[in-house]
């Protein structure tokens, strides 16, 4: 037993720092949030003594249900649109000749050179009634001259897709780069059209990349709060905005904790589902001696 422990000691030593980091900076705060949500609020913005389920019950209020539903809807729509755009993009980058591939990847990553907040403010300018984007659309008669783009749900969706898209393209590309494109020739040879080969062979072939893209888009999208805050209006509030409001305006930490706990559970569920899908075990291939 002691010998077993001694043999594994280096392994433990290597694992300890990251595990400690996660425990102190992730697990502990999460547990604290869950705990705080069960405490009463104190009128000076602190946490009262004793335990209560009031804040958890308050989550069932109709306006929260609407906001929760909107949060899920916006996030799912963002994920779907991002995937729809990322699949062909990842495919074409992976098939591009070597030097082009580097350039295209760079273009995907370039937005990260600018601060997230500044990019969202840029959209505010673009979508503003006198902004370039709005004027261009009006010129093309795609929107009427007095249409309001800013402060409405479509603007929130647009900016959410804009910020999440690189996070969808990169995992799709990473999977597509390892994809054996001869499989597409095989599919075409067996009678599949281009689109059918793409759907039946390419997309399942990069399944893991697609699942990763879903995770890294859906989870941040569920927690979005700056985007609806800056480009959204009263009809585009999401759970993140409510949490911020409870913390900074109402100074009701337990109430905010209950909302945050709800969001955490909402994130953990799809993540667990994806992890189960990804972890589907594979068995060993037989050798030819056994196989024949």
């Amino acid at each position: 037993m002691s010998r077993h422990l001694r043999d594994r000691l280096p392994e433990w030593l290597v694992t300890l720092p990251p595990m400690g980091w996660l425990a102190v900076l992730f697990l502990l705060p999460t547990v604290l949030i869950f705990a705080i949500s069960l405490r009463p609020a104190d009128p000076f913005g602190g946490i009262g003594a004793g335990w209560t389920l009031d804040h958890v019950r308050a989550l069932a209020a109709p306006h929260y249900v609407i906001i929760a539903a909107r949060t899920v809807l916006f996030s799912l729509l963002t994920t779907a649109i991002c995937l729809f755009l990322a699949l062909p993009t990842g495919y074409y980058i992976a098939r591009a000749p070597g030097r082009w591939r580097q350039t295209l990847l760079l273009l995907v990553v370039v937005p990260f050179w600018t601060s997230f907040l500044i990019r969202i403010f840029a959209w505010k300018v673009l979508l503003h009634p006198d902004g370039l984007f709005k004027q261009a659309l009006a010129c093309l008669r795609l929107v009427s001259a007095d249409a309001a783009l800013l402060y409405h749900p479509p603007a929130v969706l647009l900016v959410m897709v804009y910020t999440c898209l690189p996070f969808a393209i990169l995992p799709v590309y990473a999977a597509a780069e390892k994809f054996d494109f001869q499989l597409l020739e095989a599919a075409r040879d067996l009678g599949a059209g281009r689109f059918q080969a793409f759907l039946r062979v390419f997309v399942p072939g990069i399944r893991r990349g697609v699942l990763t893209a879903v995770l890294v888009v859906l989870i941040p999208a569920l927690g979005t709060y700056v985007i609806p805050d800056l480009v959204g209006g009263p009809t585009s509030e999401m759970i993140g905005n409510k949490i911020a409001q409870r913390v900074f305006v109402d100074r009701n930490l337990p109430h905010a904790g209950a909302l945050a706990a709800l969001l955490t559970l909402g994130v953990l569920l799809p993540m667990a589902a994806v992890l189960v899908l990804q972890a589907r075990g594979r068995r060993r291939a037989p050798t030819d001696e056994e196989g024949l």
Partner: protein
Amino acid sequence: MSALLELQDVAKAFGRVRAVDGVSLTLDRGEFFSLLGPSGCGKTTLLRIIAGFETPDAGRVLLNGRDITALPPNRRPVNTIFQSYALFPHLTVRDNIAFGLRVARRTRREIDDAVDRMLALIQMEGHAHKKPDQISGGQKQRVAVARALVNQPSVLLLDEPLAALDLKLRQRMLMELDLIHDQVGITFLYVTHDQGEAMSLSDRIAVMDRGRVLQTGTPAEIYEAPRSSFVAAFIGDTNFFEGRVAGLDGDYCRLAIDGFADVRCFNDKQIGPDQPVFLSVRPEKLHIAREAPAAKPSINAYQGRVDDVIYLGAMTKYWVRVDGHRLAVHRQHSRFLLDERPIVWGETVWISWHADDGYMLERFSEADARLVERPPEKIGDVPDDAPAGEDAP
């Protein structure tokens, strides 16, 4: 038999490389036809043109008399076995085989019946639920064959299908492919660089080099009557002689070759006196003995010295020096351990061959002559390798 697939002056270049340079071929229905050539000879490009993955720069591809040159691969009634098999890793063996039928929107009953028949043909009923990474290389090969054949293609294209298997398994799959071909009666077009595979399976072979077809014929025609030095050297081993016609003698002629007095040869090409001639004589057609053979006009016999001996069991390869020439001679043995008294290195021997066993070539090049296997005469004496280009993408 009637023409099923016809290629008319097909050409394809990649940049400045002429991968396929004016190829015309006709495949008969039900035939097992091989494209044989070294890597980079254009055989795979030709196959991809037939499958529809490449568009030829010139020429036409006709299938059953219909021009299919412009059709995309999914609308051609041909199917391909890829060298790496290209099985879909996310689908089971059954779903892989069913893929073509599903895409063609056949009924569930039809699909199930057809797939079951294929699984029975390849003896893999017990593995239908497995994924490709759970079966062996030989099994993958069979699934690839079934996945193609289930669509009942007019032509089955096989792109070096055995190259990924080890030697022993290759022999076995070779026999299996032959059995499958006999059973399904579909035309097979088989691409390979392995002359053994091509010889043992094919009804006919087209030998390719540098984008051109050099000769088409049955394995026996290709082996016994090679038109050029490339065909003679690429398929099997041979000895080349260069000389000129010294005199005519009915259907035969007498050749003057440096170091060989008065070589008699069947003059099937009606070559006139003083014309240059290139002769190919296969090593197994040469006889080696200690005593001079009985003098007959039809026998060419010369004295030489054994330079090198390689005993291979089934036969022995001798290299015999006859006045500056090094001739390869293959000899089979009988009663080897009793009283054959095998010829050994350094002995003086008689080499002889029948006048009908020498074959006159239409074309000869020194580069081809270097293709035939010769043991080095000194250490480090390595023949220049021909530029080993990969087959065009």
